[in-house]
């Protein structure tokens, strides 16, 4: 990105001053190095989002921002329905409610050091992953609708996990306002065989070790100590969410003119929040959030069963479940008053600090865990939400490393076998049905997640708590 186009507000905050049709400024949180590395398209996309009707305060980009569809990935924007605000299918993305959940295991590295191989084998057998894989659960029409309305709560009622899990999931495991009747027959059919599947691409299931604690007090409250073993699951709403994204993107792009919206980019497809199309999308999108929550809940159950087979002493308890592709209604301070806003986070994690009313009791005095996924060869991070993030980014932080190299380039540079062997020599076991998929996801194809997390910390979006390194990684 050309830094001369930006106003430098501090070492970590850069503004795109309002110009042309921009209604608010663009604000990018990044170190100089990260901002310089960002694609020029991020500048354009942050600018375009700032042109949308009803946008409040600013169009934000998180430190891991990169070129997305309409919105940048790592984009945050909030809209006020009373000022003609919009809801955007492009602002949520195709993988609705894609997110991360992390489970504590009660184990240390020593407990599983000699069991890594059988554990990797059992996990890869238990959790369907990759193209064409199907789950063991097949939903009829009635159960599909119950799942879309109930989310993880539905899954727990069917025996997948415990009621205690629900308190450790955003929205307490069930997104209110879901309307399964707004989800098309195509989207439901696409999901019929996909419950409890991991998917492919950057999605993963990892057994990780806590290698460094940065904030002992918060880590202790999260029950994390160095050498502890945790499990992280990264996946989303599978085919159902993709289909909803596809269908509403088209409908919103085609009908924007009818609503008097002049789209700066077709992919910013949106509709007024209060319009029939906007309401239909919100009902379908919330159903997809529930689908993602149910999916991660079912996978959690499969992971627990796999651990019980190999390490019976393990007790897997949910730390937290966060979604990073969503639009949620939240109350925020605007010009001294409180407004109800539709906050879009596209590749950005909610990062509420202590005292926020939406947090479960366990985190109300600490702030919520913010779970940041890395690559299979580097590290993931656990952060904690900060009080400052509300004013800085509507309570949002980064979501991951972001690619630095295309899949095409990665494929030219590495073979899957080479990546698997190299990681094995470092004690990291990869299990995947697709060597080509592994090559495309090679750790070297991603940006330095540590730099992203450090920038989010310095910008006051969240604070770093612990660094996790992979031991076993199941990829699609």
């Amino acid at each position: 990105m050309d830094l001369s186009l930006l106003t430098r507000k501090s070492d970590i905050e850069w503004w795109i001053e309002p110009h042309g049709r921009m209604r608010v400024p663009g604000i990018i949180y990044a170190t100089e190095a990260l901002a310089r590395e960002m694609d020029a398209k991020v500048y354009q996309q942050v600018t375009n989002v700032a042109m949308l009707p009803g946008i409040e305060r600013a169009s934000y980009a998180m430190p891991d921002a990169h070129w997305g569809y309409g919105f940048p990935i790592g984009g945050v924007a909030a809209f006020d329905a009373d000022r003609g605000g919009v809801v955007s299918a492009g602002g949520v993305g195709f993988d609705i409610s894609c997110g991360v959940r992390t489970l504590c295991t009660g184990l240390t590295f020593q407990d599983i050091e000699l069991l890594k191989k059988p554990l990797a084998h059992e996990l890869s057998r238990s959790v369907p992953a990759g193209v064409g894989s199907v789950g063991r659960l097949h939903l009829d029409d009635r159960e599909m609708d119950a799942m879309l309305a109930g989310g993880a709560r539905w899954a727990v009622e069917r025996g997948y996990g415990t009621a205690a899990d629900l308190e450790r999931i955003e929205e307490h495991g069930c997104m209110a306002g879901a309307k399964p009747e707004e989800v098309s027959a195509h989207a439901k059919k696409r999901q019929r065989d996909e419950m409890g599947t991991l998917g492919s691409g950057n999605h993963y299931l990892e057994v990780q070790q806590v290698v460094k604690v940065f904030d002992p007090a918060v880590a202790s409250a999260f029950h994390l100590r160095e050498r502890d073993i945790v499990v992280s699951i990264h996946c989303g709403s599978r085919g159902l969410g993709h289909q909803i994204g596809t269908e509403f993107l088209k409908q919103m792009a085609v009908s924007a003119k009818d609503y008097g919206i002049d789209l700066p980019d077709r992919e910013l497809a949106c509709a007024p929040i209060d319009s029939p199309l906007g309401e239909a999308y919100l009902g379908a999108m919330r159903s997809a959030i529930n689908c993602a929550l149910a999916n991660r809940q079912i996978i959690t159950h499969l992971v627990r069963k796999a651990f019980a087979q190999i390490v019976p002493t393990a007790e897997l308890s949910l730390l937290y479940d966060v979604s990073h592709n969503t639009c949620k209604v939240e109350s925020h301070q605007i010009d001294g008053g409180v407004k109800r806003l539709f906050v879009h986070r596209k590749g950005a994690t909610r990062a509420f600090g202590p005292g926020h009313p939406d947090l479960p009791a366990a985190f109300s005095s600490i702030g919520q865990p913010v779970l940041i996924g890395g690559t299979m060869g580097t590290a993931s991070y656990i952060l904690v939400g900060s009080l400052d993030s509300l004013a800085r980014s509507f309570g949002s932080s980064c979501h991951g490393a972001g690619r630095s190299m295309s899949r095409h380039q990665a494929l030219k540079q590495w073979s899957g076998r080479q990546v698997i062997d190299e990681l094995a020599s470092r004690g990291i076991l990869i299990r995947s049905p697709s060597p080509r998929g592994v090559a495309e996801e090679a750790p070297g194809a991603y940006k330095d997640v540590a730099a992203v997390v450090d920038a989010a910390d310095r910008a006051g979006l969240s604070r770093t708590v612990a660094r996790l390194e992979p031991i076993v990684c199941i990829k699609g």
Partner: protein, 141 residues
């Protein structure tokens, strides 16, 4: 000289671009479908055992190619199939096609990544200077 039909991928940050080129619009649409398969596996490894009929309609060629690719994504996802050959006819705003392929075989196809959907990014359909047709867009994986 006739334009040789071909397909290729182009780079896009986190995802991947698919492009089809051919002497006619239909040929470019057939080639971009091969490029779509190429995101997942080598199309030459796909056996042509099952034929699937696909139809879609859109007001512009650009929206039509996105609909065409999304229809294929849907058929692949719900039938757990990959396609290796396509025959497309386009009349006005209507596309009819047959796609031939088989059920995904994880060992033989080694499918790299599933496709979430075709996007409007880098979306272009049109005639090129040499008289050939080009169709392209980025797909989200």
């Amino acid at each position: 000289m006739s334009i040789a039909a071909r397909w290729e991928h182009f780079d896009h940050g986190a995802d991947i671009g698919v492009r089809g080129v051919g002497p006619t619009k239909q040929a470019a649409f057939e080639q971009i479908a091969l490029a779509l398969t190429g995101v997942m596996t080598d199309p030459a490894t796909v056996r042509l055992q099952v034929a699937v009929e696909i139809g879609c309609e859109a007001p512009t060629d650009e929206l039509l190619v996105v609909d065409w690719l999304n229809a294929l994504v849907y058929e692949m996802a719900t039938r757990h199939m990959l396609f290796g050959t396509f025959a497309v006819t386009i009349e006005g705003s209507r596309l009819n096609a047959t796609a031939w392929g088989e059920r995904v075989d994880a060992v033989r196809h080694e499918p790299a990544v599933e496709i979430k959907g075709a996007t409007y990014t880098e979306l272009r359909v049109g005639r090129q200077e040499d008289g050939g047709w080009l169709a392209q867009c980025v797909v989200d994986v």
